[in-house]
Symmetry: C2
Subunit: 329 residues, 2 copies
């Protein structure tokens, strides 16, 4: 199976590529060729025993989508995105990268013709839901985005549904929870502090908490995010019918829950590295974010996430810190 990964240099993209090259099987299919696409150079997967092609290009530029489609990948992961903070700061760039590029990709697939109809897995987001959100968001809750990022994801969901209905693609849009604990340097996502308050203390560094401890949000680990992408790539889509956008399972946790989990993993010393610096602007924004999802439909379809926030912290420690935390009492 030929696979293309758009956004291969991103946090989820890199982990997805490792997972695909490392395990050698996606469900019953074996990857035979991998094309990595990103605006910045993706790390090449050295250990891969399949051909890996790299394309450093902007899919929003004319001709790039055609290059991706030329190899007729049977599976396309579209993870390329400008994140929420940047999409809000620069709407022109946001719409270009988050909507226009997807349109060009779908069109290139349509123009390919020839019965070509790839599975297309699109990483959408719970940001398609905006205030007021119910305490528990059901599977039929309609998108009502309140940010440019959420708007852009909702627009591509609509387009993915339409091109799936037309038989051009076999699309699946998965609305991923906030990925936590994000490794590495903070990106421009407004939700970054949810990761910082765990990651930084576990690495012996201070972190800033801009909201109160009763703030509740919806999380999954990077590992779960990747497994959801893989599952979306391999599940029988006949069971989805026309409803191609799925709320992914996750963990509903308060900041207090996060801090308790941090205490169990890193001790009081780690918790003491969290500095409370209330930020009214962030607090206002976060107040309108989803707090919990039913996600029954996705669970029935076999999507999985962690059971509680302790597991999310454990995944970070195992996958990113080699099982050891830098700060112990």
């Amino acid at each position: 199976m030929r696979i293309a990964v758009l956004g291969a240099a991103g946090m989820l993209g890199r982990r997805l590529v490792e997972r695909v090259t490392g395990q050698g099987a996606l469900g019953s299919a074996r990857p035979s060729h991998l094309m990595l696409v990103d605006a910045v150079s993706p790390e090449t997967a050295e250990a891969a025993d399949i051909p890996v092609e790299t394309l450093v290009a902007d899919v929003a530029e004319r001709g790039v989508a055609e290059q991706i489609v030329a190899g007729r990948p049977e599976l396309i992961f579209d993870l390329a995105a400008v994140v929420s903070g940047e999409a809000e700061a620069d709407p022109v760039k946001g719409y270009r990268v988050n909507v226009h590029a997807a349109r060009l990709l779908f069109e290139a697939i349509h123009e390919a013709g020839d019965g070509y109809r790839p599975r297309l897995v699109f990483s959408s987001s719970i940001a398609v839901f905006g205030p007021p959100v119910p305490d528990l968001i059901g599977d039929d809750e309609p998108p009502a985005p309140a940010t440019s990022y959420g708007t852009q994801k909702a627009m591509v969901e609509l387009m993915l549904n339409d091109y799936t209905r037309r038989g051009v693609i076999d699309g699946v849009a998965i609305r991923l929870p906030t990925i936590c604990v994000r490794p590495g340097a903070p990106n421009r996502a407004a939700s970054g502090f949810f990761s910082s308050i765990i990651r930084e203390p576990l690495n012996g560094k201070a972190a800033i908490l801009p909201v109160s401890e009763d703030v509740r949000h919806w999380f999954a680990s990077p590992r779960s995010g990747v497994e959801c992408l893989i599952h979306a790539a391999t599940l029988p889509t006949a069971r989805l019918g026309r409803r191609r956008s799925l709320n992914m399972p996750g963990v509903s946790a308060t900041v207090a829950n996060q801090i308790e989990a941090l205490r169990r993993a890193g001790g009081e010393r780690a918790v003491s590295l969290i500095e409370r610096v209330p930020d009214a602007a962030i607090a206002r924004m976060v107040a309108g974010w989803p707090r919990a999802f039913d996600a029954r439909r996705a669970r029935v379809l076999g999507f999985r996430a962690e059971a509680n926030f302790d597991e999310i912290v454990d995944v970070y420690i195992v996958d990113e810190l080699g099982g050891r935390v830098a700060v112990e009492e």
Copy 2:
């Protein structure tokens, strides 16, 4: 007030321009300059006593939106669209004209900066609702399009909401009923027969009815459509809050109701010109279309349409036939 009309050569566009130049006032504002934009040359409004500029151009081409925005129109009507039948037949063209052009327009307004924030009236459509639709569609029914045209309209609604939230535009999207009786030659809209079965007989010509008489649908006259556009251009948007998409009022009528109205206007001879040629494909498509709307929110805001299908036929006879029907018994 400087006004730009995109899609000025279209059926509604031409009538809107006549209305604006003919009456000389939009609410409390007086038009001072009119820019007519269309891919084909719009008829110039001869009787206009204000400057009328014509731009024959494709807004989906780079630079055209900037040309429109250069004159800083305080009011922009965006009626430019590829209709449903063509959008379904040619999705690349449909997405380009119905989505991409709107994106470029919003971006050009954003880039203009300088506190420029025009009222933008977008002609959306009840095609944003797809099957299964409730018998009566409420004001909070979420879009669930089942056609490329409906998808494209829903995408622009999302974008219009976002750019309104950002303070770039003061946007209003009105979901117009099926405009009936459409004058002139049939266009490529799949709903064309709803007009043909009235228009053709009243002009002494045969018309084909492809569905059964119990089919119910949602209608408004071209005159009502234009008045809704004008009202959307002049109403105080503070009352809309963030919900910028409005279901327009209309008439819920069955094909049987249409035929009764035709009989009252044109007699038995007119009715006898309708030839029943069932078309299973059209019947299937129409079965998923909206049948009636509550539209209370729009009515409270002052939007109006006809009270019954007889009035819709009367408007056609008065506005298009000079008050006389060609066929009498």
